[in-house]
Assembly symmetry: C2
Homo-oligomer: 171 residues x 2
């Protein structure tokens, strides 16, 4: 068992009936858990200069900023539509029913910058794929998509083919 | 001028006409800005053991987790209703029209723990006051309410009388 696995709490039927939610609150609440998880995430990152870490709203902000600090990189917010105050670039992605969008500031990534994309969970991969497209539209190079955990049955990895996908835990 | 002040971007009329929004995205995007702001926030904290840092959804998550890591504390999420998956404790607070609520997990704070409350901006103080009440209902001791910036004309400090209120920047 991975040393951070016992900090993850299973919540039945959240946010909807039939879903088993993996709650990272106990991991964050414990200084040892928080520190161990950050070290594990950092250990996945290849030894190249990372210019920007992108964290996806809102749980991707939690370890995303700590990873940026650890890697001496800047941090970029990927947010739901209408949340970012400056000029944005937007990318839609399909949901089970309908579609949603994710946005970044147009000055968030500079041409040629090395980018690490981070979120807590890789599920269907829709949001991560949309963020990859945003980064590439701004001229950034994606070094890795980095997650605390992957829900393998949801097939997110297939949507992100061609990228380095790394996760600390797999379920 | 404070060394982090030039990283803050003014956005006119966001999120509503007549509001001047202080955007911290340029601060986060620059590794020097991110690091300097974290150091300034840390420098405000008194030299006592902090058990938990609470960050308020969602921009309070950004420096909140980094502060927790720096202080060797755990991190606790204060979220809008319905977002936290486990059993919660809730506190309502008044808005200009109507009211809203903020929630924490019931196991987020243990009796007697020393707590630092963090958010990016102190505006009217409504959310911060509600989080203070939640912490005290769970038996925690509030060491400080810690912000990147304070919008003094909105009078938030008055709502938080009796607490140690510290901010890096004042507008």
């Amino acid at each position: 068992m991975n040393r951070i696995e016992h900090y993850i709490r299973d919540i039945q039927d959240f946010p909807k009936p039939g879903i088993l939610f993996k709650d990272i609150a106990p991991l964050l609440q414990d200084p040892e858990g928080l520190s161990a998880c950050l070290s594990e995430l950092k250990a996945l990152v290849p030894d190249v200069k990372i210019d920007k870490v992108i964290g996806m709203e809102s749980r991707g902000f939690l370890f995303g900023t700590m990873l940026a600090k650890r890697l001496h990189a800047g941090f970029v917010l990927a947010r739901k539509p209408g949340k970012l105050p400056y000029k944005t670039i937007s990318q839609t992605y399909a949901l089970e029913y309908g579609e949603d969008a994710i946005e970044m500031h147009i000055d968030a990534i500079k041409e040629g910058e090395h980018v690490l994309i981070h979120d807590d969970v890789l599920a269907t991969g829709g949001t991560a794929e949309a963020v990859c497209k945003l980064v590439e539209r701004l001229g950034g190079k994606i070094v890795q998509c980095n997650f605390i955990m992957e829900l393998e049955s949801l097939g997110g990895r297939k949507k992100l083919q061609g990228y380095d996908i790394q996760t600390v835990l797999k379920y």
